[in-house]
């Protein structure tokens, strides 16, 4: 699991693309897009150990 920066100078532009992908969608549509995206990225990563670790870490961090 990579938790140091892995995007280099592409970070800002990829973040902007992510926001653009959501532009004009309702909150429900955005949730659906996020779900599809996570499933696709999971398939793209294709490594069960990494995905398990990512799921655990994302669940661990609470934003409130």
């Amino acid at each position: 699991m990579i938790l140091d920066d892995n995007l280099g100078s592409q970070g800002d532009s990829l973040y902007a693309q992510l926001m653009q992908a959501h532009e004009g969608l309702s909150t429900a549509q955005s949730h659906a897009l996020n779900a599809r995206l996570v499933l696709m990225m999971m398939n793209e990563i294709g490594n069960a150990d990494i995905i398990t670790a990512l799921l655990k870490e994302a669940r661990n961090i609470s934003s409130d």
Partner: protein
């Protein structure tokens, strides 16, 4: 202590009573960009008349963050050390989400450079230093306050100006007309040029306060940035230090606020106390802004040239407004001087090519920062908040937090004046310690060949042998030579002293056909 806004004297211009000989260059606007333009031209031996409708420096500090590249250009213009000495160099940055610190970072300058990544200095000081430098160059610079340009006409081979003074109107002529009148550019409006882009809905309250002591834990200057600050629900806030114990506070107010009621002491004082605690302070300046990103398509219109805010405006996150304008000056100064000395006018088109690109890059960066700081939907807010949540623990997320990416010079690689594809070609020169000084002090202002080895390099152009130090090796390598333009950008690299190749690169870099 409050800055003393001493007015500059108005002197009745000769044009009121006689017809003035045609000026090589008329610069409209004596803001930081117009003044820097006049100094740059003077240092290339070109005379100019600078016309400003006002007679004091910028009221309120406005621009405070001056980036490394700007300081290096200021060095060449003769005010770099003064700006560095007076300015504040930050030590620590802290980022908060709500009341909690997400992370802090060290801003210690990298060794081996004369100037740090940036310093904080009020715009009025920068303008004062530029005015004083212009006065030193009074054989070249004719600085006229309370001279308001009300009309201009491009006659093909010169421009005629109409100017309003306290003693009435007069006219003058100039070979070239540089519009440096700021964001509201009357020249741009007269010419009816489209100036389009994005306006952000949120209002920002900008306040400068003088404090009796540092609000930070130590006296070291810090920069504090809050997302969703506890004292100011749902928005962002920024606190950083300027000289004279003046602190800048930026508060994002949201779209629906009324700027008139926000910029009142009743509203502002409680907010400031919430940030700095209960200490006595003096309100130095405050203003409410809505920010905009926009640029002209064309900076060059025959004999009328646009520089600084009159050519492009950005939101201030990343400090790309004034810094971007100084790079316009750096790029245009030597080219306009060369054209006035007989170089092909097509050289001015490369100002358009290079700086239109640079300003688009600045707009892209400040728009992204503004978008990150002002989420437009629930989902954007969600992504931002989760990025902040991850950042407390994971470095990758810290990189995604965007409260402004500080102004950097753009690369000019692949554009008309550059030759070859060495990775450093197109970049601004990287400073180096040189025994008794710095590279930025010695390699700017004229074409210079920076040589790295002991091959016998031709003397068709000024040259400077770089030291055989590890830091030089790491920044430039150990063999060959780089050709540096007067604005400090690298425009060619040579492995061997091939005189024909060097001449061709020089011809190309000066707008000729190689």
């Amino acid at each position: 202590m409050a800055y003393d806004y001493a007015p500059f004297p108005y002197v009745a211009p000769p044009g009121l009573t006689t017809s003035e000989p045609r000026h090589p260059v008329a610069i409209v606007g004596a803001g930081p960009i117009g003044l820097a333009m006049a100094i740059d031209l003077a240092q290339h031996g070109i005379k100019s008349v600078v016309l400003d409708d006002n007679n004091v420096v910028s009221i309120g500090s406005r621009a405070i963050c001056w980036a490394k590249r700007t300081l290096e250009i200021f060095d060449r213009l003769g005010i770099g050390s003064r700006v560095l000495d007076k300015g504040v160099t930050w030590k620590v940055g802290r980022l908060f989400h709500g009341a909690d610190e997400v992370y802090s970072f060290d801003l210690l300058p990298e060794a081996g450079h004369k100037y740090p990544a940036f310093i904080n200095l009020q715009q009025y000081y920068v303008e004062q230093y530029l005015v004083e430098r212009s006065q030193e160059l009074s054989d070249w610079i004719d600085l006229r306050f309370l001279n308001k340009v009300t009309d201009h006409r491009d006659h093909g081979d010169h421009v005629a100006l109409t100017i309003e003074t306290p003693d009435g109107p007069y006219t003058l002529e100039a070979d070239y007309y540089v519009a440096a009148e700021g964001a509201g550019s009357p020249t741009r409006k007269r010419m009816d040029l489209p100036f389009e882009g994005q306006t952000f809905e949120e209002h920002f309250l900008i306040v400068d306060v003088e404090l009796p002591h540092s609000p930070f834990e130590t006296e070291d200057p810090e920069r504090w940035f809050w997302f969703a600050p506890p004292f100011h629900q749902g928005q962002s806030a920024l606190l950083h230090k300027q000289p004279d114990n003046i602190y800048r506070i930026d508060l994002q107010l949201g779209a629906e606020t009324d700027p008139k009621t926000e910029a009142t002491e009743e509203k502002v004082i409680p907010r400031i106390k919430a940030i700095i605690g209960d200490m006595d302070f003096r309100l130095d300046w405050m203003s409410v802004y809505k920010f905009r990103c926009a640029k002209l398509d064309q900076f060059v219109h025959n004999r009328v040239l646009f520089v600084g805010d009159s050519a492009h405006v950005v939101s201030p996150f990343g400090a790309r407004g004034g810094n971007g304008g100084i790079q316009d000056v750096d790029n245009l100064g030597w080219k306009l001087a060369a054209v006035l000395n007989g170089a092909p006018t097509s050289l001015l088109d490369t100002y358009q090519q290079e700086r239109s690109f640079g300003s688009a890059e600045n707009i892209l960066n400040s728009s992204r920062a503004t978008n990150f700081m002002t989420p437009k939907s629930d989902i954007e807010t969600l992504f931002r908040n989760e990025t902040l949540a991850l950042a407390a623990k994971h470095p990758f997320a810290r990189k995604l937090i965007n409260s402004g990416r500080l102004s950097q010079p753009c690369t000019l690689a692949g554009m008309d004046l550059q030759s070859g594809d060495h990775p450093l070609v197109g970049q601004a020169l990287i400073d180096l310690p040189l025994g008794n000084g710095w590279l930025v002090e010695q390699a700017q202002g004229q074409f210079t060949l920076l040589t790295l080895d002991s091959q016998s390099w031709p003397d068709t152009v000024a040259s400077l042998a770089l030291p055989h130090t590890p830091v030089c090796g790491a920044r430039y390598g150990t063999t060959g030579a780089f050709l540096i333009r007067p604005d400090g950008h690298i425009c060619a690299y040579f492995e061997t002293p091939d005189t024909a190749a060097i001449t061709a690169a020089l011809t190309r870099a000066t707008g000729g056909h190689a």
